[in-house]
Amino acid sequence: FHFLSRSQSNSLTTTRVLYKEIHNSTAHYFFRRISSLKLTKMSKKIVLKTSDGESFEIDDSIALQSETIAHLIGDDSASTSNGFPLANVTSNVLSTVIEYCKKHASVASEEELKKWDAEFVKVDDSTIFDLILAANYLNISGLLDLTCQTVADKIAACKDADEIRATFDIENDFTPEEEEELRRENQWSFQ
């Protein structure tokens, strides 16, 4: 490197050139390292095993959206050849989750993602709740927010408590007196 000889100089311009040269050389050095890293990273696949024994192989860029999996990879506790066991997730739920992660890993505008999300949650109730539990277990914040908001919207769309109970199959465990008390207490909110 030339900079050893120039270090004696006091001129401002040469020191600036000096810093630039160091920066460039180190930048080039790191760039080579990073690009080599990237190449090895891109071909890395993660295998996930569901509770019913199926295996899914996905890019790690997609898998890393799940913080649980990210921690597992970090710990390196499970050997990558066997796959990471996911005890609480079944195969059909996992395939839906992977579909979500794939879409959100890809480059798309925010509006496009929003539209896609709206279509994505048009599924029956049991799937939505399975997705909530899976997103919670796998710690995927985007999917969790989306599914929770969907359920909240469904609740808000119901006209009264009976409809909510019917939609979500909730058992009414109030006695008639308690129900009457509640009705009186909340009379102010009925239009």
């Binding site: 109730d125 609740i155 109970r165 207490e185 009925f190």
Partner: protein, 373 residues
């Protein structure tokens, strides 16, 4: 799939419960033959709380949220946890004045205890103006204001400017300006307008006309931006037109305009549920607050604030018919409605001690707001 869940609910299937359960008004495309899945049972409490938080913060009316309280005991207890109550949107606690009752009061108090700023503000307004519990109402609003709730800060500013709840000598203009400034920096449109006018008039703050104008322009810009961002339907209201000249006003008006719009027909901003409550309350209980009592309401329909003592509010200098709690209300009402109604009337100068002002724009008297085009 979830063996634990099945054993838990097994005893339910044999029983016969409320008719509501038989009436399967199911909206989901579920096959009828499937044994009741009981979805929410499988979801742990913290996730249910998260769902309920979202429900509360996106509710458009109280019923959307309250319905959940009546479904079952578990949801009732989870929905009334402080975490959920503190995040209720203003619309979720928008009690209607005709439905006001002790139970509504209790619910708002619960939300206040849970730490909801909106509830603090709403209950503060109701207690201060409607129930006339001045001290407690003001302290509730102060609680919200301390946590930077812009409408609460603005309401307290109006109270300070007018000396509401006390005598004429309780006016604290500088405190009012300070509160107004804080609300304005949070982006509250009315506070921005009020601050702009205070600066232009040197009211509670050293006069600085250009700075005042800057704030007025900013208020207009924010109002316009809010309308534009609220959707396409709102845009159809927007029509750029020439600034209208008050036809009924014969005297030439000089000086800065009130600057309530850019000549655009921006639709009226959505009123806060608290203000709507006040307006409805006094409309309903007209008997208690009839003009015979001498107490008037702010003539801006979206405001709803009443006077707390005689001649507290200031009136339009041209017609003397309408009166306002603040310059911001005057500016908004002028744009929305008063522009066409205002007509100069022969003023009896000795009438109520209000000084008649010429149209130029200097506030000499105490109780008159100069009306400018």
């Amino acid at each position: 799939m979830f063996p634990v869940r099945k054993t838990k609910r097994a005893f339910v299937k044999t029983g016969d419960f409320t008719p509501g359960r038989k009436r399967r008004r199911c909206v989901s495309p579920m096959p009828e033959t499937k044994a009741g899945p009981d979805f929410l049972d499988s979801v742990p409490d913290d996730l249910v709380v998260s769902i309920l938080c979202r429900l509360g913060s996106t509710s458009r009316c109280p019923a959307d949220f309250i319905n959940v309280l009546m479904t079952c005991k578990r949801l009732n207890s989870l929905a009334t946890s402080p975490l959920v109550l503190s995040r209720l949107s203003p619309k979720a606690i928008a009690v209607k004045a005709q439905n006001w009752s002790e139970s509504a009061h209790r619910f708002l108090k619960r939300c206040v205890d849970a730490g909801s700023l909106e509830a603090c503000y709403t209950l503060g307004m109701i207690r201060f103006y409607c129930l006339q519990i001045r001290g407690n109402g003001a302290s509730l609003m102060a609680k919200a204001a301390i946590s930077s709730h812009a409408p609460a800060l603005y309401s307290l500013a109006v109270i300070q400017f007018n000396g509401s709840g006390g005598s004429k000598n309780d006016k604290d203009l500088r405190a009012g300006v300070a509160l107004c400034a804080r609300a304005a920096f949070l982006g509250h449109v009315d506070a921005l307008r009020e601050l702009g006018h205070c600066l232009q008039d040197g009211y509670g703050v050293p006069q600085n006309v250009s700075e005042g104008r800057r704030f007025l322009v900013q208020a207009n810009a924010r109002e316009l931006a809010a309308v534009l961002s609220s959707g396409i339907e709102a845009r159809s209201w927007l029509s750029l037109s020439q600034p209208q000249i008050a036809v009924s006003n014969q005297t030439p008006i000089h000086g800065c305009p009130l600057l309530s719009d850019f000549g655009c027909n921006v639709p009226a901003p959505e009123t806060h549920p608290a203000n709507r409550f006040l307006a409805d309350w006094f409309a309903l209980r007209g008997g208690d607050y009839s003009p015979g009592d001498g107490l008037r309401l702010c003539s801006h329909a979206g405001c709803g604030r009443p006077e707390t003592r005689k001649h507290e509010f200031r009136r339009c200098s041209i017609c003397g018919v309408v009166n306002y709690c603040s310059r911001a209300c005057q500016a908004l009402d002028w744009k929305l409605r008063h522009k066409v109604d205002c007509a100069p009337v022969e003023q009896d100068v000795a009438g109520e001690g209000n000084v008649q002002i010429d149209g130029i724009g200097n506030v000499n008297g105490d109780n008159v707001l100069v009306q400018m085009s």
